[in-house]
Subunit: 205 residues, 2 copies
């Protein structure tokens, strides 16, 4: 199991499988099949079997997958069998939504700080968080050894802050800004935008 | 070119290619290669060529793809060579963020209404929108023949509103609520959640 040898495209599907499995577990289910998982996530059963088999033999012929076991294994593979501290940069609508989002804790993430450069926002509260000044971003992130950031800034300032995040040691950025960020090779960026998701459905209309 | 014969997994990648191509066009580029696209989106060049070739012969050996031509074709395939009216249900932080999001218009979408069931929110303004009562949802959506909705409600009420959306004729739902929605087979749901995207990066940390 070598991190460099598993195609990125397979890695992108594993969190989708994990989410589906966690929902099944929440509903009290104990075992599942690649067919049932496929129906839930819209990916073929053959593809799911192939993806999962990259990491070893998890299923048994005829009895399918143990949901709890597969959850544990996927969490281990994706390294979310631990908690990651995450920061939010940008305290607009999206930053507020993320700061209040309840779905991080049971997926391996813990929001610990939120930053903005707007003097009117700095010092204000969002729930338990106090909005901090981006001027202190590098120092604060380095001191807390934070590796993951969610970026909810306007396009015009997103690259400048990204450079600071990289300088501070951040290695993974979830980008809500509508631009491509330039980062070194050892930094991962995931772009998240609603239009892309909508376009995955219009094909079928 | 039969809608039923292209695997869903390929369809999910096309909007990612389209977004990358639109950024290249914005930067003044005229042609690209599957290799260059692959570097930008984190998918292998071979996979990109295979995906695109499902729909016909778009590239020329040695000269690559014409960006404008490929954009036109992908927009046509994904049916975003037209404008789709979209509604938002749920006027919380995420609903506000979506109502103000500037990235829909040039991707084929036009937000036209926003609904909530909170008496304190109904009648208030978000930009040019007035928040409407979900009690009028079915009637309003039917009258305007709307097919696409973005759902930013708490998990507890998401299924009930989904049933109303389906009754009103909605066929595509972008779901921000942290639950699996039950819908008829002819209705598409895309789930969007930040934790899934974060988990696509932790593997590499």
């Amino acid at each position: 199991m070598n991190a460099e040898k598993i195609p990125n495209i397979i890695i992108t599907r594993l969190p989708v499988y994990l989410r589906a499995l966690q929902r099944m577990a929440d509903n009290g289910l104990k075992t599942t099949s690649s067919q049932e998982m496929g129906d839930r996530v819209g990916i073929s059963a053959a593809q799911i079997r192939k993806d999962i088999s990259q990491f070893g033999e998890f299923g048994k012929q005829g009895t399918g997958y143990s949901i709890d076991y597969l959850i544990d294994k996927l969490r281990e593979i994706l390294k979310v069998d631990r908690m990651w501290d995450v920061i939010i940069v940008g305290a607009g609508d999206m930053g507020h939504a993320l700061a209040r989002y309840q779905g991080f804790a049971n997926r391996g993430f813990n929001v610990v700080m939120i930053f903005d450069n707007d003097k009117n926002k700095i010092g204000q509260k969002i729930g338990d968080f106090t909005i901090e000044d981006t001027a202190n971003l590098v120092e604060r992130v380095k001191a807390a050894d934070i590796k993951i950031a969610m970026l909810t800034l306007p396009a015009s300032v997103a690259q400048g802050i990204t450079d600071k995040l990289v300088e501070a040691g951040v290695r993974a950025i979830l980008n809500y800004a509508p631009i491509s960020l330039s980062v070194p090779e050892n930094v991962k960026v995931q772009h998240i935008d609603p239009a892309t998701h909508l376009q995955r459905m219009t094909y079928y209309l």
